[in-house]
């Protein structure tokens, strides 16, 4: 499914290491500052070679919807052993 909502985008950013994994379920009511999300989007846009707007624009959503590897892009951010 395309990443088209803020919640989906935040889950994507958490899933791949751009946001703190503790916030992996934003629908649970965890509070995330807008600045943290903006920085995470910029980090993703930088990684994907996109214009760094900090906004979930259509191009950013398109890239978040692409088939990809399931390994985190930012392995230093809370990466844990899977077994």
């Amino acid at each position: 499914a395309p990443v088209s909502t803020d919640t989906q985008a935040m889950m994507y950013l958490a899933r791949f290491g751009y946001l703190d994994p503790a916030l992996q379920n934003p629908s649970s009511g965890a509070l995330i500052s807008g600045e943290s999300v903006r920085r995470a989007i910029i980090d993703f846009q930088s990684f994907a070679g996109l214009k760094q707007t900090g906004i979930l624009d259509p191009e950013t959503s398109t890239w978040m919807s692409k088939p990809r590897c399931g390994v985190r892009d930012r392995v230093g951010t809370g990466y844990s052993a899977r077994r």
Partner: protein, 167 residues
């Protein structure tokens, strides 16, 4: 540099692997050949060698699985996440989403060889690269009829395992 190293690597030059769960839609022999080709990509530029074992203890175990498959990192059906692999410190195993349409030498579906070569990069200790043309970029680019490692990939893997002596 643009590539990233995870921080762990294998201490031996000869690594063994086994495929303990094959995809249902492809012939076993075809999967064996494509995965061997994927390992060969890394063998061509380093001193590493890879040996396929049918049974017994191996360094890298490969499985095709659907949904939740016991490691807490469930696959999500067609599209989305295609596969994942563990870095050496976590065992090096590679899991492919059985729900994908894995294909060989075709523009349809998802090319098994390319995804496998990428995942084996993780199995060897490489993280994702932000160079779009690198094999270790996280996004699937579609089938490429003539595959070639990006220089970014070559420099990265040779940082871990050295250069192949006759290259």
């Amino acid at each position: 540099k643009r590539y990233a190293l995870q921080g762990s690597r294998w201490r031996v030059k000869q690594l063994t692997y086994s495929i303990t769960k094959y995809p249902s839609a492809l012939k076993t022999a075809d999967v064996d050949r494509e995965l061997a080709k994927a390992f060969q990509v890394w063998e061509d530029v380093t001193e590493l060698t890879f040996v396929h074992l049918k049974t017994g203890k191996v360094h890298i175990e490969i499985r095709f699985e659907s949904g939740e498959h016991g490691d807490g990192d469930a696959f999500d059906g067609p599209g989305g996440t295609l596969a994942h692999a563990y870095f050496p410190i976590y065992g090096g195993d590679a899991h492919f989403d059985e729900s994908e349409t894995w294909t060989i030498n075709s523009y349809k579906g998802t090319n098994l060889f390319q995804v496998a070569a990428h995942e084996f990069g993780h199995s060897l200790g490489l993280s994702h690269s932000d160079v779009r043309t690198a094999l270790m970029a996280p996004f699937y680019r579609g089938y490429e009829s003539s595959f070639k490692l990006d220089n970014d990939d070559v420099v990265a893997i040779q940082q871990l395992y050295g250069k192949k002596k006759n290259v």
